[in-house]
């Protein structure tokens, strides 16, 4: 084999880049000009921000003008009254119970609907379109609005909260699981269909095991969301800690309020730890 003296450049030539004959010269492609577009986008964003700030009369000075009031409240908030904890037990338990029931019902309903709402598992474009449309409507309504509606229709209490959570979770769950299905490897399904299985059977046997880890992982996520959400929806009377928050807030009992906030913080942190640990175990 011939060896080429690549280490030693021929005399007279600059080392490094190979020299080309001037006749061979071709212009390199020009870098496309992108700055005018970037400038327009930045201007639009700035204009929108300014317009919004003016519209809602955003004025940082209000915070300073109310500093005296705010500081008194803050001082109270920074002195949580731990003796209040036993009194929160009932509401806290109710929040957890609402979250458990809401999660259980919603994830059970979400599984079959997700298969209808994924292009990959549902061959009928009509059924797919209908399922997706309904789920988009359900998802577009925020949890607090659901809670307000159910409190009006059914009355105050945890049951309204559970209904609100179920609908809210359903929207999220179906979105996440149907997108997980969309991204799956369809090999098993293709093989099942090629052996004469119906779509229902092929989806159940070949696709369900593949989507199971993300289903379990999203279930934990939705439970986490529910703990958070059920503290908020209580503000409109849908049971749980939120109702208690609303009560102590109305009576300016900020020592109590901060106790509740701390409790929620602890629960959320504990749940985060639990869910990340179980997710790790799931996805080995």
């Amino acid at each position: 084999m011939t060896t080429f003296p690549i280490a030693v450049p021929p005399p007279g030539d600059a080392p490094g880049i190979a020299t080309r004959h001037p006749d061979e010269h071709r212009p390199w492609p020009h870098k496309p000009r992108t700055w005018p577009r970037a400038l327009v986008i930045a201007a639009v964003i700035c204009a929108l921000t300014a317009w919004s700030a003016i519209a809602i009369q955003f004025d940082p000075a209000t915070l300073i003008r109310n500093a005296h009031n705010a500081s008194r409240t803050l001082v109270q908030l920074f002195q949580p009254d731990y003796t209040f904890i036993p009194d929160t037990a009932g509401a806290l338990l109710e929040t957890v119970q609402m979250a458990v029931i809401g999660t259980a019902v919603s994830v059970a309903l979400a599984l079959p609907i997700s298969f209808l709402a994924s292009r990959v598992t549902n061959p009928s474009t009509v059924v797919l379109g209908v399922a997706r449309f309904i789920m988009n409507v359900i998802r577009s309504i925020p949890d607090l609005l659901y809670a307000a509606v159910f409190v009006t229709v059914i009355g105050t209490g945890a049951i309204s909260g559970v209904f609100a959570l179920v609908l809210f979770d359903l929207g999220i769950m179906v979105k996440l699981i149907s997108e997980a299905l969309d991204g799956l490897d369809r090999g098993g399904q293709e093989a099942a269909l090629a052996s004469g299985a119906t779509w229902l059977k092929a989806d159940r046997i070949a696709m369900l095991p593949e989507v199971a880890p993300s289903y379990i992982s999203q279930t934990i996520y939705v439970f986490e969301l529910n703990i958070r959400a059920s503290t908020v929806i209580g503000l409109v009377g849908a049971g749980g800690l939120g109702m208690l928050i609303d009560k102590v807030r109305t009576f300016y009992q900020y020592h109590y309020l901060s106790t509740i906030i701390l409790e929620v913080l602890v629960i959320i942190l504990a749940l985060e730890l639990l869910s990340s640990a179980s997710r790790k175990r799931l996805l080995i």
Binding site: A191, G196, T198, I205
Partner: protein
């Protein structure tokens, strides 16, 4: 395992396939594959090998002509009729097509889905006879000890043998194999091809396999079909396929790239 069903005749009668984008996959193919034959399909990529194999179980619908499997015409066949034909045709894929997160035995049982009522499928409550059949199929490809392993834990060659077991669990009359060795190393390719050969010889199942490598095709295909641009340009015994024949299929003379690298290591 008693594979008592009689292997099917497959007949192509002036079959054409035009894809929605206008690409002609198959152009006026007429041929007959007798029950119990082992046929290898060769050609360049895009020549229509995959299309030809996939028309036989209706995965690719035909645009013109007619294909009959046994005594059933496939043209326009849908629903229950198509599923019945498919239930008698096993298929093996280049990328194995297993549900990777479930067990090997569940993957093999997939081959019984046609005969499983929907409620049983939904509960994954397999019939005892079907589990027995699936185990026997795994035993035939010598991988029954992995029955309860997760499919993803198996090597490529093992996964392909699970796929073969799945097709055997169908008690098929025909097995189609779409580039079954393309994701495998040369020694494993031979193991898989010998499995297919044995199934063909012992059970009398018709095997139609498309192969990229000519030496594999010549060695394992009793009969060779050569495709070029969707047309059948060669049909005859593998032994008759000389240099000239390959030039007519490939439009150029034979090179080392058309051979499985280092296949002599795994010579029978």
């Amino acid at each position: 395992m008693s594979q008592a069903q009689q292997a099917a005749d497959i007949a192509f009668d002036h079959v054409g396939v035009t894809y929605p984008n206008g690409f002609v996959g198959l152009d006026d193919i007429t041929l007959r594959i007798g029950g119990g034959e082992m046929v290898a399909v060769v050609g360049l990529s895009g020549a229509g090998k995959s299309t030809l194999v996939r028309t036989i179980n209706g995965l690719v619908p035909i645009s013109s002509g007619q294909i009959t499997v046994g005594d059933v015409g496939l043209k326009g066949l849908r629903g229950k009729g198509l599923r019945t034909v498919r239930s008698e045709i096993g298929m093996i894929f280049q990328s194995f097509n297993l549900a990777k997160r479930t067990t090997v035995i569940n993957n093999v049982l997939m081959g019984r889905l046609y005969h499983t009522p929907a409620w049983r499928a939904l509960l994954a409550a397999w019939k005892r006879d079907d589990v027995e059949l699936a185990m026997q199929a795994l035993e035939r490809v010598e991988i029954v000890h992995k029955a309860y392993a997760k499919a993803s834990e198996l090597s490529g060659g093992q996964q392909q043998r699970v796929a073969i077991a799945r097709s055997l669990a169908q008690r098929p009359r025909v097995i189609l194999a779409d580039e079954p060795t393309a994701s495998l190393d040369p020694p494993t390719s031979h193991v898989v091809m010998r499995d297919l050969q044995r199934i063909n010889a012992d059970l009398g199942i018709t095997v139609v396999v498309n192969l990229h490598f000519l030496d594999l095709a010549r060695r394992y295909g009793q009969r060779l079909l050569g495709l070029r641009e969707g047309r059948l340009v060669f049909d005859g015994p593998g032994a008759d396929a000389d240099e000239g024949v390959f030039e007519s299929i490939y439009g150029r003379s034979l090179t080392a790239e058309d051979m499985l690298p280092g296949h002599q290591q795994a010579a029978v």
